[in-house]
């Protein structure tokens, strides 16, 4: 039965990838300008090159063959050149993408570490002052626009107090060799002799963007965990477990937690696309050199090959994360296997 499930998932993900690549491929035609320029990324093409390129990109053949050629190039890592820099799009993406992933994963971890315990607490002690306080603060934080919230924090911590930097991942004084693309692991992996200063500096740069980005998912996590736990606590199996003679703690630990937290796994996947969108906004506010900022710059510059590649990567990431959390949820939750 599980095998069947995985096959179905694999089939679905294959289908989604086909749909995404079809969309990305058609962008070359939909964008203004010449198809040959859009597809190759070359800004000026000499007449004598032209015929050669048309043959290379299979533009003289049917759309289907062009599409197959496109998919082959994508798989070979040949994603065309960026209009603005005339560098390969893929290598630019590889340079900026880890910064986004790093920011998003810290924000996600933060939202878990804060959101789940606070949500559980707000549910178990729903009538206490502290429980009500959590719910109220969560509602406020949930409704704050991220721009306003970011500017507020920048004004307070950077401009007024002057304790935290406002832009970038690390001070330009430090020269960190890239290995993983993630700043903190890169610092630890490098063999520079100012490691601790560099990590501190990177951490101070990270703090504000991570807090700003984590705010929304944390509030979602608190609300979801709280509602989920409250619903579970009303179920008859919780009452009957209590009537068995188990203590309140045992009931919460053995029956409440698992039933309340299993649906949370799926929540990660559902929230991930919002998280990535917010990450892009955060990157712009804090000049964080990630894919969001890069993509927005590309849009301003009408850098079509870059937009095409960037969209493909971001949407694939969202879908893969969605699928993975869904599979994890099925593996862990016996009720999800019911159907």
């Amino acid at each position: 039965m599980m095998l069947h499930y995985f096959l179905r998932r694999a089939f679905l993900i294959g289908f989604v990838f086909v749909a995404l690549t079809v969309l990305a491929f058609s962008l070359s035609y939909l964008f203004p300008g010449e198809v040959l320029n859009n597809i190759s990324g070359l800004t000026d093409i000499q007449p004598e090159q032209r015929q050669q390129l048309i043959q290379y990109y299979a533009l003289d053949q049917s759309l289907l063959q062009q599409y197959i050629a496109y998919v082959n190039r994508i798989l070979d890592g040949e994603w065309g050149l960026s209009f603005s820099s005339q560098q390969p799009v893929l290598s630019e993406i590889i340079a900026v993408f880890p910064a986004t992933l790093e920011l998003a994963s810290y924000a996600l971890i933060l939202s878990f570490v804060l959101g789940i315990p606070l949500g559980l607490f707000a549910a178990v002690k729903a009538d206490s002052v502290f429980g009500k306080l959590i719910s109220a603060v969560t509602l406020v934080a949930y409704s704050i626009p991220i721009f306003w919230w970011a500017l507020l924090l920048i004004m307070l911590f950077s401009l007024t107090l002057g304790v935290l930097p406002t832009a970038g991942r690390i001070s330009v004084l430090f020269d960190i060799p890239t290995t993983t693309g993630f700043m903190l692991p890169d610092i630890w992996l490098s063999d520079i002799d100012y490691k601790s200063e560099a990590s501190q500096d990177a951490f101070r740069h990270l703090l504000l963007p991570a807090i700003v980005l984590a705010t929304y998912p944390t509030t979602v996590m608190i609300r979801f965990t709280r509602d989920s736990m409250l619903a579970v606590l009303e179920q008859s199996y919780i009452k009957t477990a209590r009537a068995k003679g188990l203590s309140r703690f045992e009931v919460l630990y053995h029956h409440g937690l698992r039933n309340a937290l299993l649906p949370v796994i799926r929540q990660i996947g559902l929230q991930f696309s919002t998280l990535i969108t917010l990450a892009m906004i955060t990157e712009v506010i804090f000049s964080w050199p990630g894919i969001g900022q890069w993509l927005l710059d590309s849009i301003y510059q009408r850098n079509y090959p870059a937009i095409q590649g960037g969209l493909l990567v971001v949407s694939c990431l969202v879908i893969v994360v969605n699928m993975l959390t869904e599979i994890l949820h099925t593996l862990f939750n016996p009720l999800a296997r019911k159907a």
Partner: protein
């Protein structure tokens, strides 16, 4: 010794239109070693009473009582936590909805094992997991489940309702309770298994002195398996006493109608002749009549019946009616 003694138990539901009294001043006593039946039509409040005793109703229900004592100890004076402790130790319940009463994401073995209290175990702590498992297997065998291996790793939704009901029974007897409340314990089972489980409960009663409160809407099931009987109509206690006395000479019109509606108790009735039945049907909670709740359906009703009758007694036979039947006397 009187084990459970409840006086004027009232259970009210909080609704938008105010409190609705689903159970109205019901008395219930259970002695040590007694098997008492609780009968009444569907919706008469039997499960509510049982759940109120074991304390599993949620906050929307308001429960009050003038007396609620357990083995001579007044539980109303104790804190909620202390009440829970005593009841959790001494009273077990078989729930009417077995699959909803089990944790849907925990395998059966885990749920069965946690029903066995530490006090039932003899080995030192390193031997306990093994001993618990052995006990769990024995419990399943007792309720007639042979294939324990397959059951242990299953989740409740994978099992038929009848098997879940047997597992509930196993969990209930695991702690050797002083009182077992069995709420329609065999509805999901076929009749041979039903008889087998009633024999099992009877043997627990005789060997271990376990008292049982047997709840059912079928008078014949209760009559066959109990010594004493309480009859409930629409949240009011209408009659209580020895099962045999009540069957022979009911004092309340409702009990009388209930007995007459069971073919088994009407041997003189020629076949194909319609059984006796009261006109109308049990009112819903939103449209309860004032006074005696049987009033609109009662053949003997007179204008005094708009006042709720108080519980009266004839020796050990309690009834609550202004105009009791005394025809056969």
């Amino acid at each position: 010794m009187i084990l459970l003694d409840i006086k004027n138990l009232t259970i009210e539901l909080e609704t938008a239109e105010g409190l609705i009294r689903a159970v109205d001043r019901v008395n219930l006593t259970i002695r040590e070693g007694e098997i008492r039946g609780l009968v009444g039509e569907s919706g008469s409040g039997k499960s509510l009473i049982a759940k109120a005793i074991v304390g599993v109703l949620n906050k929307r229900w308001h429960i009050t009582a003038d007396r609620f004592s357990w083995a001579g100890q007044d539980l109303l004076r104790l804190s909620y936590e202390e009440q829970r402790k005593i009841i959790g130790r001494d009273i077990a319940m078989i729930y009417q909805e077995p699959s909803r009463s089990m944790d849907p994401t925990a395998p059966i073995l885990e749920q069965l094992i946690e029903s066995i209290p530490d006090s039932e175990l003899e080995s030192s702590w390193w031997g306990r997991p093994f001993e618990r498992r052995k006990k769990a297997i024995a419990l399943l065998h007792k309720v007639g489940i042979r294939d324990h291996q397959a059951i242990f790793n299953s989740y409740p939704y994978q099992l038929p309702e009848g098997v879940c009901q047997k597992i509930m029974i196993a969990m209930a007897i695991a702690k050797k309770p002083k009182l077992l409340i069995a709420d329609e314990p065999t509805t999901a089972l076929e009749s041979t298994t039903q008889a087998q489980l009633f024999r099992l409960l009877a043997s627990f009663n005789q060997l271990k002195g376990m008292s049982i409160l047997l709840i059912s809407h079928e008078l014949e099931t209760v009559a066959r398996n109990t010594q004493t009987l309480s009859v409930l109509y629409c949240g009011q206690l209408v009659e209580a006493g020895e099962t045999a006395t009540i069957l022979k000479q009911p004092l309340h019109p409702y009990t009388d109608a209930l007995i007459k509606s069971v073919p088994e108790f009407q041997p003189d009735l020629a076949s194909k002749q319609p059984l006796y039945a009261l006109p109308g049907s049990i009112p819903t909670l939103q449209h309860l009549p004032i006074g005696c709740r049987l009033g609109p359906r009662c053949p003997n009703a007179r204008k005094e019946c708009v006042k709720t009758p108080v519980l009266d007694r004839l020796q050990n036979h309690y009834f609550s009616c202004h105009f009791p039947l005394q025809g056969k006397k």
